[in-house]
Symmetry: D2
Subunit: 260 residues, 4 copies
C-alpha cells in the first residue's frame, strides 16, 4: 500500500569488465552488489544503470522516476556526458537524494555540487580501516555500534577539499596512520547528499554487513522531502505584495536576458 522509495544504482562498470581480480569479487558488477544489498529492504524499489547504456541509463524519464540515486565511478569520470550531469544536478536541487560512493568524490556531479576540488591523499595498500560514528543517534548509523572495521581498504586521508559538511557523521582511522571524514551530509537546493568513503573495487567492501546497513539507511535518509522546481520569476509591480508605484528608470533591460 505504501509507495516504495525508488532507487537507481549507477555504476561505472569498467574495472569489473577489464580486471579479473575485480570481476572475481563482483561477478555481476559492483552496481549489482550494491543493488542487491538495497533489495534486502522491501520498502525499496531498486534498479541499476551504467555508463555503457545510452545516456548512461539516466534518461529524463528514469531520473524523474528516481527518488534516490547512488553513484560509484573511478576511472571514467571524464566519459560521463555533461548533459547527463546537468540533468542529475537539476534533479538533486529539486529534491532527489544522492549517495556518493568512494572514488566518486572525483565525479563530475559531486564536484559540481560541492564547488571545490574534492581532492584528498590516498594510498592503496590494503590496510585496515576503522570507521567511528560521531552521532550514534543518526538514522544513517542505525544498527551499528560505536565503530566498525573493514579489513582491507584503500586509504583516503585529509585534507579532503570539500565545503565544511553540514554533519560529519563518520571519521576513519587508517592502519597506516591517516584519518578521513568518511561520512559527510549536505543539503543543496531541496536535495540531500551523503558522501560515504569506503568501496575500493579490489576489496569486497560492498559485501560487508555494516557497509550494506549504511547503504540502506542512507537511502532512506536521502528520501526526497518535497519538490522545488526552481526558476527566477519576475514579480511585476502590480503583483507586489505591497502597493508600490514604480519609479524604475525603465530601459529595455538587456540584463534580464540571462535570467529568462
Amino acid at each position: 500500500m505504501t509507495t516504495k522509495l525508488k532507487v537507481t544504482v549507477w555504476g561505472e562498470n569498467v574495472h569489473e569488465q577489464k580486471i579479473p581480480a575485480v570481476r572475481a569479487i563482483y561477478p555481476l558488477g559492483m552496481h549489482e552488489c550494491i543493488a542487491s544489498a538495497l533489495r534486502q529492504d522491501e520498502t525499496l524499489n531498486v534498479r541499476t544503470a551504467t555508463l555503457q547504456e545510452p545516456q548512461h541509463g539516466l534518461s529524463h524519464e528514469v531520473l524523474e522516476d528516481t527518488d534516490v540515486l547512488t553513484w560509484w565511478g573511478h576511472c571514467a569520470h571524464s566519459q560521463v556526458e555533461d548533459a547527463v550531469v546537468d540533468r542529475v544536478h537539476k534533479r538533486v536541487l529539486e529534491g532527489m537524494g544522492l549517495l556518493v560512493l568512494h572514488s566518486a568524490h572525483y565525479s563530475k556531479i559531486f564536484k559540481r555540487l560541492m564547488g571545490t576540488t574534492c581532492s584528498l591523499t590516498w594510498r592503496e595498500a590494503g590496510e585496515k580501516e576503522r570507521l567511528w560514528v560521531c552521532n550514534p543517534g543518526h538514522p544513517i548509523v542505525r544498527g551499528l555500534g560505536p565503530y566498525f572495521e573493514i579489513p582491507h581498504e584503500e586509504m583516503y586521508g585529509e585534507p579532503f577539499a570539500i565545503p565544511e559538511p553540514e554533519e560529519t557523521l563518520l571519521i576513519s582511522w587508517f592502519e597506516g596512520g591517516e584519518v578521513f571524514r568518511s561520512g559527510c551530509c549536505y543539503r543543496r537546493g531541496n536535495g540531500k547528499i551523503f558522501y560515504f568513503r569506503p568501496g575500493h573495487e579490489t576489496y569486497p567492501t560492498y559485501h560487508q554487513r555494516e557497509v550494506q546497513t549504511i547503504l540502506r539507511n542512507a537511502v532512506h535518509w536521502l528520501a526526497p522531502q518535497g519538490r522545488w522546481i526552481d526558476s527566477c520569476p519576475n514579480i511585476p509591480s502590480d503583483k507586489a505584495p505591497e502597493k508600490i508605484t514604480s519609479s524604475a528608470a525603465h530601459h529595455s533591460s538587456p540584463g534580464q536576458a540571462d535570467k529568462s
Copy 2:
C-alpha cells in the same frame, strides 16, 4: 612599510557603453566607481579589469597578483570564457577573496562555487530597500548603524537558491513587500566569498556612502589568510606515518588515471 592588499575590480562594462541612462550615473563605468570607493582606503592597491580586455583582464599573472577580486556582471555572463572562470575558481580555492556583487549571483563563477542555481525572484520598480544588520559586531558592517536604506533599487526576493550561508549578515526589506538575504558569507577551499546584493546599474547605488563602507570592509574581511595549493597526492606505503605491510591486490590501476 606594510604590504597593501591587492584588489582587482572586475566589471562587465556593457550597460555603461550601451545605455545612456547608465552612463549618466557611471560615466567611467561601474567598475571605476567601485574602484574609486576602494581607493579611499590607502591600505588597498586597486586595479580594474573588464570583459572587453584580452582574457577579460584576468590573466594568470593578474590573478596571481590579486588578493581580493570583486565581480559585477549582469547581461553578459555567458560571454565570460570558461578558461577564465577555471582560473578564478582555482585562485579562490587557494585563498583569494571574492566579492560577488548584485546580479553576479548569476555569474558563472558564483554558480560554480555554490553548486546551486542561485536563482531568486526580482522586480525592477525603483523601490526602497532597507538593509538590516544581523551581527552588529561583524567587521563587514563596521561603521554602520542597525540598518541603512537605498532609496531606489531593483528588488531581489526569496527564495534565493544558494547553499545555507555560513553567516547571513544582512537581510533586506523591500517597499514592495519582499525580503532577501543580502549579505552572505562563505568559505570554499581556503578562500572567503561574500555576496552583497545591492547595485542595479540604473541607480546610483555604488555612489552611496554606506554601500561604499561595506565594499571597503568586505575587501578587508576577504583578505587571504594563507595559501593552499591543492593536489591529490599518493602516499606510498613506505611513506605512511605508521609502518604497514601492503596487502593490496595490486593491479595497474586505471582508476588512478583521473587522479594524476
Copy 3:
C-alpha cells in the same frame, strides 16, 4: 497499527488567566488552541502540560513518553524550575524534538540550548507580518505558498542573537519596516529544534490556518530519529581497538572526578 507520534504541548498559561483580552481569544488557554490544531492530524497523540502543574507537568515519565515538545512562554520564564529545564535539555540531546514558539526565544531551555542571549528588537503595534519561505521544498512549509501574512502581530526585529541557524527557513517582513529570521532549524545532540516566531498572546495567530499547518509540519520534522544516551566512558587500555602498552604516568587522577 503505526505508532502515533507523541506530542506534549507546554503552555505558560498566565496571560490567559489574568488578561480578559487574551482569554477572549484563547478561552481554554493558548496551549489548548495549539493542541487542538495538532489534533487535526490523526497520526499525532497530543497532550498538554502547563506551568501551574506539579513539575510544570513535565515529570520524568511524561518526558520519557514525549517525542516532540512544544514550548510557549512569555512572562514567567524565571518561574520554570531549573530541574525541569535540566530534564528537558537532557531529553532534547537524546533525540526529543523541540518546537520553540514566539516569546520562548527567551525561555531558559532555548537559551541553554543556544548558548547565546537570544535577544532581539521588538514592538507591539499590531502591525502586519508577512513570512517568506526560503526553501519551498522543505517539509515544514509543505502546503504553503511563497509567503503568508498575519494581519496583526507583535514585531520582532534583527539582530536576533542566536548561533547561525543550520537552516533559515522563514524570514518575516514587518509593516513597520523590520525583518526577522522567523523559522530557524537546529540540531543539538541527537535532537532537532525549530524556532517559529509568530504567536503573540493578544492576537489570534494560533487560530490561523497557515500557522497551524506549520505547527503540524514542524512536529513531524522534529520527530526523533533515534536515541543517543550520552555518557563519558573510559576505555581501558585492554579494551582499546588497537593493542597498546600503557605508558601512562599513572596517578590517582583527580581530574576524572568530574567525568564520572
Copy 4:
C-alpha cells in the same frame, strides 16, 4: 605603535600543586608554560589568572581588558563560580575570543556556550597522538606540515557531543585506534571560540613546539573583530522605520517584564 593583543591565560592550577609528577613538568604551573609560549610573540600582551585568586582572577576589570581568554581546567570545574562564568560568557558574546584547552571541554563556560553535554570517550595510556590538518591554509595551522605527533597523550575519542563545528580544522589519530575532532571553530554572538584538544597535565604537551605554534596562531585568529553590546530594545511605534498606526490590543504587558 600598534596596540598589542591582550591575552589572559586562565589556569585551574590544582594538579600542579598536588601532584609531584605534574609539578615536575610544569614547575610554575601549566598556565605559566602556556603564557610563556604566548610571550614569544611580541605582539601579545599576556597575563595569567588562576582559580585560587579572588574572583578566580577574572574580575570585571580584567575581562574588560582582555581580548582573548585561554582556559584550562580539569578536576575543579565545579569550583568555578557561576558569577564568573556569567561574566566570561557575556564577554565572549560581545566579542572576546576564547581558547578552550583539553579537559576544559567539560568546563562550565564551554558547556554553556555549546548548549550540549560536550562528553567524549577517554583513556589515559600515554599513547601516541597524531593530529591531521583538514585545511592547510587556515591561519591557526600556519607553520605546520600536514600533521604533527605528540608522543604521549591521553586519548579522547568520538562521539564528541558538541554542536557541529563551523570548521573542523584538526582530527586526531590515536595509537589505540580512536579518532577525535581536535580543532573546532565556532562563533557565538560576536565572539570566536576555538577548542584545541591536547594538553593532559601528566605530559609535557605544552612544551612542544607545534602545540605552542597553534596556541599563538589561535590567539591571533580569536582576536575580537568588533564589539556588540547586546540588549533587547523596544522600538516604539513612532520610531518604526516605516510609518505605522498602532493597532495593538494594548494591555499593561506583563510579558515584557522578562525583557526589560
